[in-house]
Protein backbone atom coordinates (compact mmCIF):
# COMPACT_ATOMS: atom_id res chain seq x y z
CA UNK A 1 0.00 0.00 0.00
CA UNK A 2 3.04 2.28 0.31
CA UNK A 3 3.31 2.92 -3.42
CA UNK A 4 -0.18 3.01 -4.90
CA UNK A 5 0.96 4.27 -8.32
CA UNK A 6 3.33 1.41 -8.71
CA UNK A 7 0.89 -1.25 -7.55
CA UNK A 8 -1.72 0.16 -9.92
CA UNK A 9 0.76 -0.17 -12.76
CA UNK A 10 1.56 -3.74 -11.77
CA UNK A 11 -2.13 -4.57 -11.61
CA UNK A 12 -2.70 -3.02 -15.04
CA UNK A 13 0.21 -4.97 -16.52
CA UNK A 14 -1.10 -8.17 -14.99
CA UNK A 15 -4.57 -7.45 -16.36
CA UNK A 16 -3.32 -6.76 -19.89
CA UNK A 17 -1.05 -9.81 -19.88
CA UNK A 18 -3.78 -12.13 -18.62
CA UNK A 19 -6.26 -10.77 -21.18
CA UNK A 20 -3.77 -11.31 -24.01
CA UNK A 21 -2.82 -14.73 -22.68
CA UNK A 22 -6.43 -15.70 -22.20
CA UNK A 23 -7.32 -14.63 -25.74
CA UNK A 24 -4.41 -16.57 -27.21
CA UNK A 25 -5.24 -19.64 -25.19
CA UNK A 26 -8.87 -19.39 -26.23
CA UNK A 27 -7.93 -19.21 -29.94
CA UNK A 28 -5.48 -22.06 -29.48
CA UNK A 29 -8.09 -24.28 -27.87
CA UNK A 30 -10.93 -23.69 -30.35
CA UNK A 31 -9.78 -25.19 -33.67
CA UNK A 32 -11.52 -24.41 -36.96
CA UNK A 33 -13.67 -26.65 -39.14
CA UNK A 34 -14.05 -29.78 -37.10
CA UNK A 35 -17.60 -30.55 -38.17
CA UNK A 36 -20.01 -29.58 -40.90
CA UNK A 37 -22.81 -27.28 -39.90
CA UNK A 38 -25.50 -28.97 -42.02
CA UNK A 39 -26.47 -32.59 -41.93
CA UNK A 40 -28.80 -34.31 -44.39
CA UNK A 41 -30.56 -37.59 -43.68
CA UNK A 42 -32.33 -39.56 -46.42
CA UNK A 43 -34.96 -42.29 -45.93
CA UNK A 44 -37.44 -44.01 -48.22
CA UNK A 45 -41.03 -42.86 -47.70
CA UNK A 46 -42.18 -46.48 -47.71
CA UNK A 47 -39.92 -47.23 -44.71
CA UNK A 48 -42.09 -45.07 -42.48
CA UNK A 49 -44.96 -47.14 -41.08
CA UNK A 50 -48.48 -45.74 -41.48
CA UNK A 51 -49.59 -43.92 -38.31
CA UNK A 52 -46.27 -44.82 -36.77
CA UNK A 53 -42.69 -43.65 -36.56
CA UNK A 54 -39.35 -44.60 -38.03
CA UNK A 55 -36.67 -43.96 -35.42
CA UNK A 56 -33.08 -43.34 -36.52
CA UNK A 57 -31.14 -43.37 -33.23
CA UNK A 58 -27.74 -42.91 -34.88
CA UNK A 59 -28.96 -39.78 -36.66
CA UNK A 60 -30.81 -38.73 -33.53
CA UNK A 61 -34.08 -38.17 -35.42
CA UNK A 62 -37.49 -39.77 -35.92
CA UNK A 63 -39.88 -39.61 -38.88
CA UNK A 64 -43.50 -39.66 -37.76
CA UNK A 65 -46.46 -40.35 -40.04
CA UNK A 66 -50.04 -39.70 -39.05
CA UNK A 67 -52.60 -39.98 -41.83
CA UNK A 68 -51.08 -38.23 -44.85
CA UNK A 69 -48.81 -35.86 -42.98
CA UNK A 70 -45.16 -36.66 -42.39
CA UNK A 71 -42.86 -34.84 -40.03
CA UNK A 72 -39.35 -35.26 -38.72
CA UNK A 73 -38.50 -34.73 -35.07
CA UNK A 74 -35.11 -34.08 -33.56
CA UNK A 75 -34.46 -36.67 -30.82
CA UNK A 76 -32.23 -34.20 -28.97
CA UNK A 77 -34.26 -33.25 -25.93
CA UNK A 78 -35.13 -29.52 -25.88
CA UNK A 79 -34.49 -29.48 -22.12
CA UNK A 80 -30.82 -30.41 -21.71
CA UNK A 81 -29.89 -32.22 -24.90
CA UNK A 82 -30.09 -35.91 -23.96
CA UNK A 83 -31.31 -38.32 -26.64
CA UNK A 84 -34.96 -39.15 -26.03
CA UNK A 85 -36.28 -42.71 -26.44
CA UNK A 86 -39.35 -43.68 -28.46
CA UNK A 87 -42.11 -45.17 -26.31
CA UNK A 88 -45.57 -46.50 -27.27
CA UNK A 89 -47.05 -43.15 -26.12
CA UNK A 90 -44.47 -40.90 -27.76
CA UNK A 91 -41.00 -39.99 -26.49
CA UNK A 92 -39.37 -39.98 -23.06
CA UNK A 93 -36.06 -38.55 -21.87
CA UNK A 94 -33.90 -40.92 -19.79
CA UNK A 95 -31.94 -38.07 -18.15
CA UNK A 96 -34.53 -35.81 -16.56
CA UNK A 97 -37.88 -37.44 -17.31
CA UNK A 98 -39.47 -35.08 -19.83
CA UNK A 99 -42.21 -36.78 -21.85
CA UNK A 100 -43.53 -35.85 -25.29
CA UNK A 101 -46.48 -36.87 -27.46
CA UNK A 102 -45.74 -38.60 -30.76
CA UNK A 103 -46.03 -35.21 -32.50
CA UNK A 104 -43.35 -33.78 -30.21
CA UNK A 105 -45.53 -31.70 -27.87
CA UNK A 106 -44.60 -31.67 -24.18
CA UNK A 107 -46.66 -33.90 -21.91
CA UNK A 108 -44.65 -33.39 -18.74
CA UNK A 109 -41.59 -31.24 -17.97
CA UNK A 110 -38.94 -30.27 -17.09
CA UNK A 111 -38.83 -29.48 -20.85
CA UNK A 112 -40.67 -26.24 -21.48
CA UNK A 113 -41.02 -26.51 -25.25
CA UNK A 114 -41.77 -29.34 -27.64
CA UNK A 115 -39.24 -31.34 -29.63
CA UNK A 116 -37.66 -29.50 -32.54
CA UNK A 117 -39.19 -30.21 -35.95
CA UNK A 118 -36.69 -30.75 -38.74
CA UNK A 119 -37.30 -29.67 -42.31
CA UNK A 120 -38.50 -32.56 -44.52
CA UNK A 121 -38.69 -32.63 -48.30
CA UNK A 122 -40.16 -35.49 -50.32
CA UNK A 123 -39.02 -36.24 -53.85
CA UNK A 124 -39.52 -39.47 -55.83
CA UNK A 125 -40.35 -41.46 -52.72
CA UNK A 126 -37.23 -40.28 -50.87
CA UNK A 127 -37.47 -38.10 -47.78
CA UNK A 128 -34.65 -35.62 -47.18
CA UNK A 129 -34.38 -34.38 -43.62
CA UNK A 130 -31.96 -31.59 -42.86
CA UNK A 131 -30.58 -30.38 -39.61
CA UNK A 132 -28.61 -27.22 -38.97
CA UNK A 133 -26.00 -27.77 -36.31
CA UNK A 134 -25.05 -25.02 -33.93
Amino acid sequence: MAKPARSRRTALEALILSLLGGFGLWRFLTPRGRRSSREEIKVRTTDVPADGALVLPRKRCAVVKSGDSIMALDLICPHLGCTVNATPQGFACPCHGSRFKSDGQVVTGPATRGMTRLAVEERDGILSISREEG
Binding site: P57, L80, G81, C82, C95, H96, G109, P110
Partner: protein, 343 residues
Protein backbone atom coordinates in the same frame (compact mmCIF):
# COMPACT_ATOMS: atom_id res chain seq x y z
CA UNK B 1 16.35 -34.53 2.43
CA UNK B 2 12.79 -35.15 1.29
CA UNK B 3 11.62 -35.50 4.88
CA UNK B 4 13.31 -32.20 5.74
CA UNK B 5 11.63 -30.50 2.79
CA UNK B 6 8.23 -31.91 3.70
CA UNK B 7 8.67 -30.79 7.28
CA UNK B 8 8.91 -27.20 6.10
CA UNK B 9 5.39 -27.36 4.78
CA UNK B 10 4.11 -28.03 8.30
CA UNK B 11 4.49 -25.77 11.35
CA UNK B 12 7.62 -26.30 13.44
CA UNK B 13 5.73 -26.16 16.72
CA UNK B 14 2.07 -26.86 17.37
CA UNK B 15 -0.35 -26.17 20.22
CA UNK B 16 -0.78 -29.29 22.28
CA UNK B 17 -4.57 -28.87 22.41
CA UNK B 18 -4.74 -28.70 18.59
CA UNK B 19 -3.41 -32.24 18.37
CA UNK B 20 -6.56 -33.71 19.89
CA UNK B 21 -8.13 -36.04 17.38
CA UNK B 22 -11.65 -34.75 18.19
CA UNK B 23 -10.67 -31.31 16.86
CA UNK B 24 -9.73 -32.07 13.26
CA UNK B 25 -10.11 -35.86 13.03
CA UNK B 26 -7.06 -35.51 10.80
CA UNK B 27 -9.38 -35.07 7.81
CA UNK B 28 -7.06 -32.75 5.88
CA UNK B 29 -4.11 -35.10 6.33
CA UNK B 30 -6.23 -38.08 5.29
CA UNK B 31 -7.30 -36.16 2.17
CA UNK B 32 -3.62 -35.57 1.35
CA UNK B 33 -2.90 -39.28 1.86
CA UNK B 34 -5.70 -40.15 -0.54
CA UNK B 35 -4.38 -37.62 -3.04
CA UNK B 36 -0.92 -39.23 -2.89
CA UNK B 37 -2.47 -42.66 -3.48
CA UNK B 38 -4.31 -41.21 -6.46
CA UNK B 39 -1.05 -39.87 -7.90
CA UNK B 40 0.63 -43.26 -7.43
CA UNK B 41 -2.14 -45.39 -8.90
CA UNK B 42 -2.78 -42.86 -11.69
CA UNK B 43 0.89 -42.86 -12.72
CA UNK B 44 0.79 -46.64 -13.09
CA UNK B 45 -2.45 -46.54 -15.09
CA UNK B 46 -0.68 -44.23 -17.57
CA UNK B 47 1.35 -47.22 -18.79
CA UNK B 48 -1.72 -48.85 -20.33
CA UNK B 49 -4.33 -46.21 -21.08
CA UNK B 50 -4.71 -45.07 -24.71
CA UNK B 51 -6.51 -41.69 -24.99
CA UNK B 52 -8.32 -42.18 -28.31
CA UNK B 53 -12.01 -43.07 -28.81
CA UNK B 54 -11.13 -46.20 -30.81
CA UNK B 55 -8.66 -47.59 -28.31
CA UNK B 56 -9.66 -46.22 -24.89
CA UNK B 57 -12.19 -48.89 -24.01
CA UNK B 58 -10.11 -51.78 -25.32
CA UNK B 59 -7.04 -50.50 -23.46
CA UNK B 60 -9.02 -50.64 -20.21
CA UNK B 61 -10.24 -54.13 -21.11
CA UNK B 62 -6.65 -55.16 -21.74
CA UNK B 63 -5.66 -53.68 -18.37
CA UNK B 64 -8.46 -55.59 -16.64
CA UNK B 65 -7.85 -58.95 -18.33
CA UNK B 66 -4.18 -59.21 -19.28
CA UNK B 67 -2.42 -57.13 -16.67
CA UNK B 68 -1.57 -58.53 -13.27
CA UNK B 69 -3.10 -56.17 -10.71
CA UNK B 70 -4.53 -53.97 -13.47
CA UNK B 71 -8.13 -54.28 -12.40
CA UNK B 72 -7.14 -53.82 -8.76
CA UNK B 73 -5.20 -50.66 -9.56
CA UNK B 74 -8.17 -49.19 -11.40
CA UNK B 75 -10.48 -50.05 -8.48
CA UNK B 76 -8.04 -48.37 -6.10
CA UNK B 77 -7.84 -45.24 -8.25
CA UNK B 78 -11.63 -44.97 -8.53
CA UNK B 79 -12.25 -45.70 -4.86
CA UNK B 80 -9.61 -43.22 -3.73
CA UNK B 81 -11.10 -40.49 -5.92
CA UNK B 82 -14.51 -40.99 -4.34
CA UNK B 83 -13.02 -41.09 -0.84
CA UNK B 84 -11.08 -37.89 -1.55
CA UNK B 85 -14.28 -36.01 -2.43
CA UNK B 86 -15.97 -37.23 0.76
CA UNK B 87 -12.92 -36.33 2.88
CA UNK B 88 -12.67 -32.81 1.45
CA UNK B 89 -16.35 -32.17 2.15
CA UNK B 90 -16.06 -33.56 5.70
CA UNK B 91 -12.94 -31.46 6.24
CA UNK B 92 -14.80 -28.34 5.05
CA UNK B 93 -17.65 -29.18 7.42
CA UNK B 94 -15.18 -29.55 10.29
CA UNK B 95 -13.72 -26.12 9.51
CA UNK B 96 -17.16 -24.52 9.41
CA UNK B 97 -18.60 -26.23 12.48
CA UNK B 98 -15.58 -25.44 14.69
CA UNK B 99 -15.81 -21.75 13.72
CA UNK B 100 -12.41 -21.75 11.99
CA UNK B 101 -13.54 -20.22 8.69
CA UNK B 102 -13.34 -16.57 9.74
CA UNK B 103 -10.23 -14.36 9.89
CA UNK B 104 -7.32 -15.02 9.51
CA UNK B 105 -8.17 -18.21 7.65
CA UNK B 106 -9.96 -16.50 4.75
CA UNK B 107 -7.17 -17.05 2.22
CA UNK B 108 -6.93 -20.71 3.08
CA UNK B 109 -10.69 -20.96 2.84
CA UNK B 110 -10.47 -19.83 -0.79
CA UNK B 111 -7.58 -22.21 -1.51
CA UNK B 112 -9.66 -24.98 0.06
CA UNK B 113 -12.60 -24.20 -2.18
CA UNK B 114 -10.37 -24.22 -5.24
CA UNK B 115 -9.12 -27.64 -4.13
CA UNK B 116 -12.67 -28.98 -3.81
CA UNK B 117 -13.57 -27.57 -7.22
CA UNK B 118 -10.44 -29.10 -8.76
CA UNK B 119 -11.14 -32.45 -7.09
CA UNK B 120 -14.65 -32.52 -8.54
CA UNK B 121 -13.40 -31.43 -11.96
CA UNK B 122 -10.64 -34.05 -11.93
CA UNK B 123 -13.12 -36.74 -10.94
CA UNK B 124 -15.47 -35.58 -13.71
CA UNK B 125 -12.77 -35.63 -16.40
CA UNK B 126 -11.64 -39.05 -15.17
CA UNK B 127 -15.16 -40.37 -15.48
CA UNK B 128 -15.04 -40.10 -19.29
CA UNK B 129 -11.72 -41.87 -19.78
CA UNK B 130 -12.87 -45.54 -19.80
CA UNK B 131 -15.16 -44.57 -22.74
CA UNK B 132 -17.89 -47.00 -21.75
CA UNK B 133 -21.62 -46.27 -21.74
CA UNK B 134 -21.49 -45.09 -18.11
CA UNK B 135 -18.64 -42.70 -18.92
CA UNK B 136 -20.11 -41.33 -22.12
CA UNK B 137 -23.56 -40.57 -20.81
CA UNK B 138 -22.46 -39.21 -17.45
CA UNK B 139 -20.17 -36.79 -19.29
CA UNK B 140 -22.86 -35.98 -21.82
CA UNK B 141 -25.43 -35.06 -19.15
CA UNK B 142 -22.80 -32.97 -17.34
CA UNK B 143 -21.88 -31.07 -20.50
CA UNK B 144 -25.52 -30.36 -21.34
CA UNK B 145 -25.92 -29.05 -17.82
CA UNK B 146 -23.02 -26.68 -18.41
CA UNK B 147 -24.83 -25.25 -21.44
CA UNK B 148 -27.63 -23.87 -19.26
CA UNK B 149 -25.20 -21.51 -17.52
CA UNK B 150 -24.19 -18.10 -18.81
CA UNK B 151 -21.07 -18.59 -20.98
CA UNK B 152 -21.82 -22.32 -20.77
CA UNK B 153 -21.76 -22.78 -24.53
CA UNK B 154 -18.33 -21.19 -24.75
CA UNK B 155 -17.01 -23.34 -21.90
CA UNK B 156 -18.49 -26.41 -23.53
CA UNK B 157 -16.79 -25.72 -26.84
CA UNK B 158 -13.55 -25.26 -24.94
CA UNK B 159 -13.87 -28.59 -23.11
CA UNK B 160 -15.46 -30.73 -25.84
CA UNK B 161 -14.66 -29.08 -29.19
CA UNK B 162 -15.87 -32.11 -31.19
CA UNK B 163 -18.62 -33.39 -28.89
CA UNK B 164 -18.32 -35.74 -25.93
CA UNK B 165 -17.37 -38.85 -27.94
CA UNK B 166 -14.87 -37.02 -30.18
CA UNK B 167 -11.10 -37.66 -30.28
CA UNK B 168 -10.17 -34.05 -29.44
CA UNK B 169 -12.50 -34.00 -26.48
CA UNK B 170 -11.18 -37.26 -25.05
CA UNK B 171 -7.61 -36.05 -25.48
CA UNK B 172 -8.51 -32.79 -23.79
CA UNK B 173 -10.13 -34.53 -20.81
CA UNK B 174 -7.08 -36.79 -20.62
CA UNK B 175 -4.62 -33.88 -20.61
CA UNK B 176 -6.64 -32.12 -17.94
CA UNK B 177 -7.03 -35.27 -15.88
CA UNK B 178 -3.43 -36.48 -15.88
CA UNK B 179 -1.41 -33.25 -16.00
CA UNK B 180 -3.11 -29.89 -15.54
CA UNK B 181 -5.53 -30.64 -12.73
CA UNK B 182 -3.24 -32.91 -10.64
CA UNK B 183 -0.42 -30.37 -10.92
CA UNK B 184 -2.73 -27.58 -9.79
CA UNK B 185 -4.07 -29.74 -6.96
CA UNK B 186 -0.60 -30.63 -5.76
CA UNK B 187 0.57 -27.01 -5.79
CA UNK B 188 -2.56 -25.74 -4.06
CA UNK B 189 -2.52 -28.43 -1.39
CA UNK B 190 1.10 -27.60 -0.56
CA UNK B 191 0.05 -23.94 -0.38
CA UNK B 192 -2.91 -24.95 1.80
CA UNK B 193 -0.56 -26.55 4.34
CA UNK B 194 2.02 -23.80 4.06
CA UNK B 195 -0.52 -21.08 4.87
CA UNK B 196 -1.28 -22.94 8.11
CA UNK B 197 2.42 -22.80 8.94
CA UNK B 198 2.55 -19.08 8.15
CA UNK B 199 -0.37 -18.55 10.50
CA UNK B 200 1.46 -20.44 13.25
CA UNK B 201 -0.81 -23.43 13.15
CA UNK B 202 -4.53 -23.98 13.25
CA UNK B 203 -6.92 -21.83 15.22
CA UNK B 204 -6.32 -22.69 18.92
CA UNK B 205 -8.70 -25.34 20.17
CA UNK B 206 -10.09 -25.77 23.67
CA UNK B 207 -8.54 -24.21 26.77
CA UNK B 208 -5.19 -22.39 26.91
CA UNK B 209 -2.18 -24.61 26.53
CA UNK B 210 1.47 -24.64 25.56
CA UNK B 211 3.31 -25.45 22.33
CA UNK B 212 5.10 -28.71 21.63
CA UNK B 213 7.59 -29.54 18.88
CA UNK B 214 6.11 -30.93 15.67
CA UNK B 215 8.78 -33.63 15.74
CA UNK B 216 7.53 -35.98 17.03
CA UNK B 217 4.21 -34.72 18.42
CA UNK B 218 2.63 -33.73 15.07
CA UNK B 219 4.50 -36.01 12.70
CA UNK B 220 3.90 -39.19 14.66
CA UNK B 221 0.07 -39.02 14.34
CA UNK B 222 0.40 -37.71 10.75
CA UNK B 223 2.43 -40.75 9.73
CA UNK B 224 0.15 -43.07 11.67
CA UNK B 225 -2.90 -41.61 9.89
CA UNK B 226 -1.11 -41.91 6.55
CA UNK B 227 -0.41 -45.61 7.11
CA UNK B 228 -3.90 -46.45 8.42
CA UNK B 229 -5.62 -44.59 5.56
CA UNK B 230 -3.39 -46.22 2.95
CA UNK B 231 -3.90 -49.74 4.31
CA UNK B 232 -7.67 -49.20 4.60
CA UNK B 233 -7.93 -48.03 0.98
CA UNK B 234 -5.66 -50.79 -0.30
CA UNK B 235 -7.85 -53.37 1.45
CA UNK B 236 -11.17 -51.81 0.45
CA UNK B 237 -10.15 -51.62 -3.22
CA UNK B 238 -9.86 -55.42 -3.26
CA UNK B 239 -13.55 -55.71 -2.42
CA UNK B 240 -14.99 -52.82 -4.46
CA UNK B 241 -14.16 -53.40 -8.13
CA UNK B 242 -14.46 -50.53 -10.63
CA UNK B 243 -17.26 -51.24 -13.13
CA UNK B 244 -16.65 -51.41 -16.89
CA UNK B 245 -19.74 -51.13 -19.06
CA UNK B 246 -20.04 -51.91 -22.78
CA UNK B 247 -18.28 -49.41 -25.11
CA UNK B 248 -19.88 -45.97 -25.45
CA UNK B 249 -22.78 -45.83 -27.89
CA UNK B 250 -23.98 -42.30 -28.70
CA UNK B 251 -27.10 -43.71 -30.38
CA UNK B 252 -28.48 -45.46 -27.31
CA UNK B 253 -28.64 -43.82 -23.92
CA UNK B 254 -28.94 -46.15 -20.95
CA UNK B 255 -32.31 -45.67 -19.33
CA UNK B 256 -32.14 -43.93 -16.90
CA UNK B 257 -28.96 -42.02 -17.85
CA UNK B 258 -27.40 -40.90 -14.58
CA UNK B 259 -24.42 -38.63 -14.13
CA UNK B 260 -21.58 -39.33 -11.70
CA UNK B 261 -22.88 -39.62 -8.12
CA UNK B 262 -21.11 -36.45 -6.99
CA UNK B 263 -23.03 -34.42 -9.59
CA UNK B 264 -26.26 -36.38 -9.31
CA UNK B 265 -27.84 -33.86 -6.93
CA UNK B 266 -27.61 -31.22 -9.66
CA UNK B 267 -29.16 -33.59 -12.21
CA UNK B 268 -31.97 -34.35 -9.75
CA UNK B 269 -32.45 -30.62 -9.17
CA UNK B 270 -32.71 -29.72 -12.87
CA UNK B 271 -35.13 -32.58 -13.50
CA UNK B 272 -37.69 -30.36 -11.75
CA UNK B 273 -36.80 -27.24 -13.77
CA UNK B 274 -33.71 -26.21 -15.71
CA UNK B 275 -33.55 -22.88 -13.89
CA UNK B 276 -32.95 -24.85 -10.66
CA UNK B 277 -29.30 -24.86 -11.74
CA UNK B 278 -29.18 -21.31 -10.37
CA UNK B 279 -30.25 -22.65 -6.99
CA UNK B 280 -27.24 -24.98 -7.10
CA UNK B 281 -24.99 -22.06 -8.05
CA UNK B 282 -26.45 -19.92 -5.27
CA UNK B 283 -25.80 -22.68 -2.73
CA UNK B 284 -22.19 -22.99 -3.89
CA UNK B 285 -21.73 -19.18 -3.81
CA UNK B 286 -23.19 -18.99 -0.30
CA UNK B 287 -20.71 -21.63 0.90
CA UNK B 288 -17.76 -19.79 -0.64
CA UNK B 289 -18.92 -16.45 0.80
CA UNK B 290 -19.35 -17.83 4.33
CA UNK B 291 -16.37 -15.94 5.88
CA UNK B 292 -17.74 -12.65 4.55
CA UNK B 293 -21.18 -13.09 6.05
CA UNK B 294 -21.90 -10.96 9.11
CA UNK B 295 -20.96 -13.63 11.61
CA UNK B 296 -18.99 -12.76 14.77
CA UNK B 297 -15.38 -13.91 14.84
CA UNK B 298 -14.31 -16.43 17.42
CA UNK B 299 -10.75 -16.45 18.77
CA UNK B 300 -10.71 -20.08 19.89
CA UNK B 301 -12.05 -23.00 17.95
CA UNK B 302 -14.69 -25.26 19.48
CA UNK B 303 -17.36 -27.52 18.09
CA UNK B 304 -20.60 -25.61 17.44
CA UNK B 305 -19.57 -22.26 18.98
CA UNK B 306 -22.58 -20.43 20.45
CA UNK B 307 -22.17 -17.37 18.19
CA UNK B 308 -22.15 -19.53 15.08
CA UNK B 309 -25.29 -21.57 15.75
CA UNK B 310 -27.24 -20.01 12.82
CA UNK B 311 -24.35 -20.77 10.42
CA UNK B 312 -24.10 -24.33 11.69
CA UNK B 313 -27.84 -24.76 11.27
CA UNK B 314 -27.79 -23.30 7.74
CA UNK B 315 -24.86 -25.45 6.65
CA UNK B 316 -26.30 -28.66 8.07
CA UNK B 317 -29.65 -27.99 6.38
CA UNK B 318 -27.93 -27.32 3.03
CA UNK B 319 -25.81 -30.47 3.33
CA UNK B 320 -28.91 -32.48 4.20
CA UNK B 321 -30.64 -31.05 1.14
CA UNK B 322 -27.79 -31.99 -1.21
CA UNK B 323 -27.48 -35.43 0.39
CA UNK B 324 -31.23 -36.04 0.06
CA UNK B 325 -31.19 -35.05 -3.63
CA UNK B 326 -28.22 -37.37 -4.22
CA UNK B 327 -29.96 -40.30 -2.52
CA UNK B 328 -33.18 -39.70 -4.49
CA UNK B 329 -31.18 -39.60 -7.73
CA UNK B 330 -29.21 -42.70 -6.81
CA UNK B 331 -31.90 -45.01 -5.51
CA UNK B 332 -35.35 -43.67 -6.38
CA UNK B 333 -35.01 -42.92 -10.10
CA UNK B 334 -35.76 -45.60 -12.66
CA UNK B 335 -36.40 -45.81 -16.41
CA UNK B 336 -37.48 -42.49 -18.00
CA UNK B 337 -36.41 -40.84 -14.72
CA UNK B 338 -39.62 -42.02 -13.02
CA UNK B 339 -39.77 -42.63 -9.29
CA UNK B 340 -39.20 -46.28 -8.41
CA UNK B 341 -38.97 -48.14 -5.15
CA UNK B 342 -35.40 -48.99 -4.19
CA UNK B 343 -36.48 -52.44 -2.99
Amino acid sequence: MVTALLKHVFPRRVLETNLRITYTFGLGGLALTTLILLFGSGLLLLFYYAPSPERAHSSIQFLEINVWGGGYLRSLHRLASHVLLVLIVLHALRVILTGAFKRPQKLNWIVGWLLLFLAVFTAYTGYLLPADQLAYWATQTGMELLRTLPLGDALRSLLVPDGVGGPLSLLRFYALHVVMLPAAMFALSMLHFFIIRRQRGLMPYGEEGGYVNSTPHLFRPVIRGFVICTVALLLAAAFIPAPLDVPADPAHAPNPAKSAWFLLWIQELVSYSSSAIYLALALAALFVALPWLPVPEVTRASWFPRDHRPVAFLVIVMCGFVLALTLVGLFLRGPDWRFVSPF
